[in-house]
Amino acid sequence: MNDLIRVVDSPAEISTAVTGVRECAAANEITPNIILDVFEAWGAALGEPETADIPGVPFLRLWLRRNTLEPIVIRELGRGALYGDWMEEGRARLKAYPVGVVGHWPAGNVEIQPVLSMTCALLGGNASVARIPSRLSEQTQRIMGKLVQVDGNRLLTERVFMPIFDHDRRDLHEAMAKAADGAMIWGGEEAVLRVRTLSFPHWARLAVFGPRISVAAMDAGSWSSSGERELWCRRIAREVWQFDQQACSSPQAIFLEKKQGYFAAEFVQALRIAFESENRLHPRRAIQPALTSAICQARASWLMDNVANQAVFPTGPDWTILLGHGSDIPRPTQGKTLSVLEADDLIKVIERLDGNVQTLGLAIADAERERELASLAAKRGVSRIVKLGHMHVFFPPWDGVDLIRPMVRMVRHVCQTD
């Protein structure tokens, strides 16, 4: 375990460890089918008390199940890839080979992200070197402890290295980048831009996920129905609470299409109850003072900039609902600060979206209208259009990119003879 995840302080430590995992991966070809067996056992072990309470672990356990991952492997790499077979394609045959060592730069705000990112590269047969932000080291150690526990033959753990170091150690980032044949980069703008400037080899493949934001939209038939309102509000609260609204898939704003005789303020009252309930279940344990300041600032400027604006919030920074009108996405605050905007026509809202928006969560009663809105959103740059309540469901393509395929080489062999 100490070899797999540990604090590093010099580029040499990283180089030595990378050489080790590279050699292991090159010497021992491993099929996705075998990996899925280990993942299945790992997922089961994560249900034990030491790890079950880590944020995101319930999702990780679902992710690691064969039922989840096998279809993804088949869709991205082809059916034969599961057993490491060549796949026939006319006179040619195709097979997925790993790119080599994949470096992972996960965002610091999602506890399970280092592991999620790593699983994608492992399924492609790669070795993985995942930089663990100091803030996530304790949780990641517990999660990886379960992999060590189930992977008795070290099929996977021998090809994984997780150095723990601070984000400002440029020399260590450089050492990781120089040794990588591929990189999966997640996070906010500053983090992504910093990683992209590292000295990767010219052949290295970079897959960047984020930074983007997400929004939701509801037609009048959905939000005005008193019978369904509470259910929708509970779903929205869960979307906002996960990852403290800092994930690229977290809704920052929700647009409600206007309907004669129905008032968004009533919807906001139902949302308030759902937020209060979610806050009781999952209270915040810590906060950065800067986020508290930003939340206070968002409340004040929202109410002072336009006297028609409304807001609901408790005395603490726990959550905030800002109610107003319009078709533009307000500046995101994060920290469970949700803008609820009444709009005359959702088409007008979606027409104003752009490539900044990753996910559009929809609650649309009319299926034909939903397809129309989805097509328009896709055209405007949105990468995921899902039912409101499923905005965080991690399933490829993510950000418009497959999760396994970018880190494999699809080798084509054109047969000389029949």
Partner: protein
Amino acid sequence: MSELVERIDQLLARPPYATPPAEHLAILLELLKEELEQLWCRDGGLRNYVRHWPVDLRSATRLADLPYLPVAVLKAQPPLSLVKASEIKRTLTSSATTSQLPSRIVLDAATARRMTKGVAAIAQNFLGSFRRPYLVVDTPDSARSGLEMGARGAAIQGLRPFATEVTYCLGPDGKGDIVLDRDLLIRFARAHADCPVLIYGFTYILWKYLVQPLVATNTSLDMPSVHILHSGGWKRLQDEAVNKETFNTGLARIFNCSTDHVLDFYGMVENVGVIYPDCVEGNKHVPTFAEIIVRDPLTLEPVTEGERGIIQVCSVLPTSFPGHLLLTDDLGELVAYDGCGCGRRGTCVRFVGRVPKSELRGCGNIELRRRVAA
């Protein structure tokens, strides 16, 4: 309104650090509630903010329950004002070294008068009431009277009531920077060697333009009776690895005075009329017409003694802008709600630093992309 103003003036006339805390907080609560009701209702945005505040203003029983504004709202352009444009006599601007945009504070005649009185009452408590020669470690331009005045100018002007004469010892160097006028300084030191003198400068300016040049030439001035006040934050000095002890020792050596005579005061343009000098225990005290609440960032509730949090400043002095209850961008430690060894009553705090910039904003942070697009 006139009754309200009269009550503010009565509070301002009290000794600044003698009111028992319970009485102090009760007076402040009632006055601030009335100010918010009477003054904030003049602005639609402020009215809307108070209306949505989770605690009803009239039923609030604690100072901490009243609606406070994040200090950044005072960066609004045009500045937030509670008086007619014709009544504005001066606009103060903050230094904005870290936040880029300065706050803009409008003063009418009454607020400006209370600002002067407030600073004078506090400074008098620390320095004594007599007038003395006043050496300003800055250029005359920085305190030039005009419609707009920066934080440095406001601080310099705030101490003028203690001056028999004012001398500025910095001037332009002709290359866009400023430089110490050594001859003038030495003449001033010789003329006032044996009498009490008041010196003021921004912390960084004192270090860079007075201490460093004099240390470099091994110059010292024999002025044991000086009191040196400085303000303006430590960020730039921290960047140069200069801490408070080094700073105080450096100044004390230059003037051949005790380090006790070097007084750091925390103050912000937005908190007009209130400065917070260090007492002999190293704490910052709040005068009767103001209060500091240190709020836990997790709950925004006031912290208990010994805990740290975000500083909120409260003041009854402004009537021309909504500077009554401001959540600052500074972190502080609540030392005690009463009972400081220096004898001053009420809340005492220590300044810890600026609220650090958020580091982890996750993959949902698209700030730069939006900025570039804009």
